[in-house]
């Protein structure tokens, strides 16, 4: 398994803990499906905890962007938690760092909704 996603709920916020790689194919598809399922269930306050993600390619970055816009279009919000430096670098290069709400602290992320 390239990517594992575990789900936690804190109040009406869903935290997805991601471990592994978000790359073209399996990883990107799993992320897409996981967020889509939450939105279908009416859960649109989402935190992606990326602390366990070791590698993201352009497809994975694209998937983060897609899930961000899809969630926003439902009136919800998708925020990022524990961004590894290399993912931060990738977002900076493509001017996406200011698009996302990014948190280092889970409690602060939860309280931001």
């Amino acid at each position: 398994m390239l990517l594992e996603i575990r789900e936690r709920r804190v109040g009406d916020v869903v935290i997805l803990d991601l471990v592994g790689k978000i790359t073209i194919g399996e990883g990107s598809v799993l992320l897409r499906d996981s967020v889509s399922r939450l939105l279908d269930q009416g859960s649109n306050r989402i935190i992606l905890n990326l602390g366990g993600v070791s590698y993201v390619d352009s497809s994975g970055i694209g998937e983060l962007v897609s899930r961000y816009t899809t969630t926003k279009n439902t009136g919800g919000r998708l925020k990022l938690l524990n961004l590894p430096k290399k993912i931060k670098d990738l977002l900076m290069i493509t001017k996406l760092l200011t698009v996302f709400e990014i948190y280092e602290d889970e409690q602060a992320a939860l309280e931001s909704f």
């Binding site: 790359t23 194919g25 352009s58 497809s59 694209g62 962007v65 290069i93 493509t94 996406l96």
Partner: protein, 156 residues
């Protein structure tokens, strides 16, 4: 004098599952010739992006078509050429992913990453069909070994 160069080649079918095979080989080569961990990570990513583009956009997942990868280990740089057998494209016509209108596009960032992480990235239509991208990354100058330092220290 002709400088010695080592060449490593492999061909994969146009399936995403094989990309890891190519990046594993990339890691072996960058490690073998002394790129540091940071440089090796980004070279890995540039190769991954290029091979993924060849599989997806070039060969359009046609498993009858291969993606050919050639690593040339030069004394000055590592060069990686990736060839597909697709219809080809003009990279100048691709949308700019940094254009504010494109910032939230789900795709179109791969080539920007490749250009960021490598010293050069060149596209050309292969004379026998398909596209070939050739990327290079300079190797760090070899540090003086301990013997050289001692040699300098005694002022000879």
């Amino acid at each position: 004098m002709m400088l010695a160069e080592n060449v490593v080649e492999l061909s994969i079918a146009s399936q995403l599952e094989f990309i890891d095979l190519v990046t594993t080989l990339t890691d072996n080569i960058t490690g073998m010739i002394g790129f540091d961990e940071e440089a090796a990570y980004w070279i890995n990513m540039a190769v991954r992006e290029s091979v993924a583009n060849a599989v997806e956009h070039g060969n359009k997942y046609d498993t009858q078509k291969t993606v050919d990868i050639r690593f040339t280990i030069g004394t000055d740089a590592l060069r990686v050429a990736i060839r597909d057998y697709g219809e080809g494209f003009d990279p100048a016509t691709l949308p700019d992913p940094l254009d504010p209108n494109n910032i939230l596009n789900p795709a179109g960032r791969g080539i920007l990453y490749m250009r960021t992480f490598m010293d050069s990235v060149e596209y050309e239509r292969h004379p026998e069909g398909g596209m070939q991208v050739t990327m290079s990354k300079r190797r760090a100058p070899k540090p003086l070994d301990e013997g050289d330092h001692k040699h300098d220290a005694v002022g000879n």
